[in-house]
């Protein structure tokens, strides 16, 4: 989260990439992917198969399809096609910090209001085959902010990122993070809650208020419906409204958790107030209470093999996803990290080694299962006629460390193309060097710009700005520390 930002260069990268990759938003090309090994996820594997894409949807799938003559053909001979990867836990595309850590119930904060469509991590995750992501706040608070599912529509404005029709969510967090075990600020008093007991009471307290609030609105609406024109509406409470939506089943709860005891605690509280927990996030000890998770019908979204970075992760096992799957839980493998997201296919593969999932079961961990968890499985998560054409083309079986994404399509548009990315690099390099030279030239003539800051080591008069040597020194050495 402390990634440095370089506005000039960021803008530059953006210009180049969008210019070469993104199709104009109004056109929706007809595409045929041919000769591919198609891993449909829900309908088996088709060898030497084809997919017809029209209007952003999968129009046909099979050994052969009827393609119109003007269709763009992608020959995928020897390649593998999967549904786009769905990351059930992501923090990309967020402007500013991910935690509103000042209060224990921060349901008022909404990720939808701070989406950053220029975040380069959108492009990098696309390059790793991710097409849909659940964007969440951090885990500082027992009840965190409102979450949103986005499509990785690189090149589109923030308003076009939200996944149409996907229910919004809310982040909960249990355990060490909300009780701030590892984040004490010297000189400052500890925040409530500081124990797992307090975390439970924070959630129970908030839902007690939310239930009362809901009742007062229900009573008001009933009076209005009965024709009572003198009825006064309750005062709106923006903290409680999202929790009322949870009680009404209109907003999903995605709860960060680790230990078995806190997992069962949340399921008890949810039962008490009559709401459902949609997914348990991380849930590294989920394998210890897998039967309880299955009985509660709650989804589990976990890591492949992270462990031991804190006490509540010390009993984490790489068998977690497989063991929960075998006990009947719908499981996904998520990233929680922009880099980890770029190889979720590999992370899913580890469940074949650790716990013996089949190839199909492993692939489900990052496709149809997270789609089910986010309630978007009618639209995405498998290769079926009528579903969104969110597809990834790999050069190799995707459940391997040797697989590299060649193309990623979102809504039937190629938004990442490895060959084009590589081909465009020389032009981008040149553009960057020209801009840097321009900037240097501008800095060279301070007298023309009144008030402009004098460079620390102005070049001698008549001296040309030294172009960086090929491949040897670029932004970091010419620019680095000054920014």
């Amino acid at each position: 989260m402390n990634r440095l930002r370089f506005p000039v260069l960021a803008a530059l990268g953006l210009l180049g990439v969008t210019a070469t990759i993104a199709a104009p938003p109004d056109s929706s090309p007809v595409i045929v992917i041919q000769n591919a090994t198609i891993l449909t996820v829900t309908k088996g594997t088709i060898e030497h198969g084809s997919i017809l894409i029209r209007d952003g949807k999968i129009a046909e799938v099979g050994p052969s399809v009827k393609a119109p003559k003007d269709a763009t053909v992608i020959d995928a001979e020897g390649k593998f096609v999967t549904p786009g990867i769905i990351d059930c836990h992501s923090h990309i595309a967020i402007e500013g910090g991910v935690n509103e850590g000042s209060i224990s119930v921060s349901s008022i904060a909404n990720i939808a209001e701070v989406l950053d469509s220029d975040d380069i991590d959108i492009y990098r995750d696309l390059a790793g085959g991710v097409t849909t992501a659940n964007i969440l706040h951090g885990s500082a608070n027992a009840i965190g902010g409102q979450t949103i599912v986005i499509k990785l529509r690189w090149g589109q404005p923030a308003s076009k990122l939200p996944f149409e029709g996907a229910l919004p969510g809310i982040k909960f967090a249990l355990g060490e993070n909300p009780k701030r075990s590892n984040f004490s600020v010297p000189g400052q008093p500890r925040r409530y809650p500081a124990t797992r007991m307090g975390v439970e009471e924070t959630i129970r307290g908030a839902f007690t208020e939310a239930r009362d609030y809901k009742n007062s609105w229900d009573a008001y609406n009933k009076k209005v419906a009965a024709g009572d024109k003198s009825a006064l509406p309750p005062r709106r409470d923006l903290h409680l409204e999202p929790l009322v939506e949870v009680l009404e089943g209109k907003r999903y709860v995605h709860a960060h958790c680790y230990r078995e005891d806190e997992i069962l605690m949340l399921l008890r509280v949810a039962k008490e107030f009559g709401f459902k927990v949609r997914t348990l996030q991380h849930v590294l000890e989920g394998y210890k209470v897998a039967d309880e998770l299955a009985a509660a019908g709650v989804g589990a979204s976990t890591f492949s093999d992270w462990w031991a970075y804190k006490v509540e992760a010390y009993d984490a096992i790489p068998y977690n996803a497989a063991l929960m799957t075998r006990r009947g839980v719908v499981v996904s493998v998520n990233s929680d990290d922009a880099e980890e997201a770029t190889h979720l296919n590999q992370e899913a593969a580890k469940s074949m080694k650790f716990g013996g999932l089949t190839h199909d079961e492993a692939l489900k961990l990052v496709t149809i299962n997270p789609a089910m968890q986010l309630g978007i499985d009618k639209r995405v998560g498998s290769i079926e006629v009528g579903k969104d054409a969110d597809l990834v083309i790999y050069n190799h079986d995707p459940l391997s460390a040797y697989a590299v994404v060649q193309k990623t399509l979102v809504d039937g548009r190629v938004l990442f193309d490895r060959a084009q990315d590589i081909a465009g690099r020389a032009a981008l390099d040149k553009e960057k060097k020209d801009l840097l030279a321009k900037e240097k030239a501008a800095a060279k003539k301070p007298e023309e710009k009144p008030g402009a800051k004098k460079p620390e080591n102005p070049p001698k008069q008549g001296e040309k700005p030294k172009p960086p040597a090929e491949d040897e020194a670029t932004a970091s050495s010419t620019h680095g520390g000054a920014l």
């Binding site: 402390n2 260069l9 960021a10 990268g13 850590g101 380069i120 991590d121 990098r124 390059a127 590892n182 984040f183 600020v185 394998y287 210890k288 039967d291 309880e292 093999d305 462990w307 031991a308 970075y309 804190k310 006490v311 992760a313 010390y314 984490a316 096992i317 790489p318 068998y319 063991l323 922009a338 880099e339 770029t342 190889h343 590999q346 593969a349 580890k350 074949m352 080694k353 650790f354 716990g355 190799h396 459940l399 391997s400 460390a401 040797y402 697989a403 590299v404 990315d421 690099r425 960057k432 491949d471 040897e472 020194a473 670029t474 932004a475 970091s476 050495s477 680095g480 520390g481 000054a482």
Partner: protein, 445 residues
């Protein structure tokens, strides 16, 4: 599932037949002699043997070849359909130095203060760390524990971090496990940082360039001063010195560095920092190994011409700059290899050490030759740290740190079927498998 159970049964059977011991195998009685027969043997020293025998005796590789003889009394492991490789070597880890990274009481990675040349990793490696069995189950048989380089807070890691130690991942005490106590001296090359992140308070801090540059200059000048003093000290002690010579343990620890006997493991990532570090070490006549090297490809000609080897941090990392090609780190090993820069790959971690093979495979996926990738996690780290006479290949006389697998050891789904560390047949069991089996057998509530 079935395959795994069957193979585990086989392991248990071997245990019952020969050993009756928990992992790691007992060292009290002389270890048995083993012969792995009819296996495909990737020696990484010459050509691969398609159907060969490897003999392990007294902790060492006693014979390897297509026609190596099985000694009488040797315990035979049928390697038909299996492959033998040198165990993987992770050259930058905090293994044994850090158990749970968020809990200070379990972390011994970095001393306070900026100059700690006298501290040695081997002192604080916990042989019973749960990370060790988990890591060796991934086919990693030896590592370098590196002090003073890890942790979130790079500003608090000091300049001279201490001495890195090489050890095998099985044994009762560090004395058993140690390959070499002092392998390299850690130097965190000072960087000009205007923006830092304070993990204690989770806040970003900014300061003017001039302040950051001033701090950098001060650190480099302090470092120069330390080296000067170490040189004088080495000279004085080297000439017998007076008997009342006042000992200085820190200068004593730096003496092998200024004499060129102990390499500096220099942590630097950005091209400018690498250039500065290379210039400094050349001027000071110090042996340099680069660690980190995110932008090593930008100075590859310099590294090649000076013969400086690199321990690369994981390729599965995001590039440092927003406008870097998305795969600049993934593609870097191939570019360095083409340019003739010697490199190895490290995990730079403890709990992610088991991703070492995955990282190497990803480098292959982005253009690196497979054999080079395999060597970058076996032979090359051994060569870079001067340990190739002991580990890194399957050759007679080397420590028998090796793995017998059912497939490519870099691939995600391959299993280590037999693990030999210091010539002992070592179990791949660990805390995580125990928990798995315990909860796999939990009765339905």
């Amino acid at each position: 599932m079935k395959v795994e159970l069957r193979d585990r049964m086989a392991l248990i059977l071997i245990g019952l037949l020969f050993l009756h011991v928990p992992a790691p195998a007992l060292a009290q009685q002389a270890a048995p002699t083993y012969a792995i027969t009819h296996a495909k043997i990737f020696t990484l020293a010459g050509s691969t043997i398609d159907d060969g025998t490897l003999v392990i005796k007294d902790g060492k590789i006693a014979a390897v070849g297509a026609s190596a003889e099985v000694p009488p009394g040797a315990q035979v492991i049928d390697g038909k359909g299996l492959q033998v490789y040198p165990g993987l070597f992770d050259p930058v880890t905090q293994l044994g130095l850090s158990e749970i990274s968020a809990v200070n009481a379990t972390v011994d990675t970095s001393e306070t203060g900026s100059f700690n040349p006298d501290v040695v990793a081997a002192t604080a490696v916990l042989p019973s760390s749960e990370h060790i069995p988990v890591t060796r189950a991934a086919g990693i048989t030896e590592v370098l524990a590196v002090p003073g380089s890890g942790g979130f807070d790079s500003s608090g890691r000091g300049v001279i971090g201490g001495q890195a130690s090489a050890f095998s991942l099985a044994g009762w005490t560090m004395d058993d496990m140690q390959i070499k106590r002092s392998v390299a001296m850690v130097l965190n090359w000072p960087t000009i940082q205007t923006r830092t992140f304070d993990f204690a308070t989770f806040t970003r801090r900014e300061r003017p360039y001039s302040d950051a540059k001033q701090e950098y200059d001060r650190q480099v000048s302090e470092l120069t001063d330390w080296l000067d003093r170490a040189r004088h000290y080495a000279q004085a002690t080297g000439h017998g010195g007076p008997s009342d010579f006042e000992r200085d343990v820190k200068l004593e620890a730096l003496a092998p560095v200024v004499r060129g006997q102990l390499p500096l493991l220099v942590f630097a990532d950005r091209a400018r920092d690498i250039q500065n570090a290379v210039e400094f070490c050349e001027k000071q006549k110090l042996r340099m190994i680069l660690a980190g090297g995110e932008e090593a490809y930008k100075v590859k000609e310099l590294l090649r011409s000076k013969g400086i080897a690199v321990i690369l941090r994981p390729m599965l990392s995001l590039p440092p700059e927003e406008d870097d090609p998305y795969d600049s780190l993934l593609g870097q090993p191939a570019r360095l290899s083409e340019a003739g820069v010697k490199f190895a790959i490290g995990s730079f971690d403890n709990s992610f050490a088991r991703r070492l093979g995955q990282n190497a495979a990803n480098a292959v996926a982005h253009g690196l030759a497979y054999e080079e990738a395999l060597k970058s996690v076996t032979l090359y780290p051994a060569q870079i740290f001067g340990l190739a006479d002991q580990v890194g290949t399957l050759e007679t006389g080397k420590i028998a740190n090796l793995i017998v697998t059912n497939g490519d050891p870099l691939e995600l789904t391959s299993d280590v079927k037999y693990l030999f560390i210091r010539g002992q047949l070592t179990s791949t069991d660990n805390k995580q498998r125990h928990l798995y089996e315990k909860y796999l057998n939990r009765p339905k509530p």
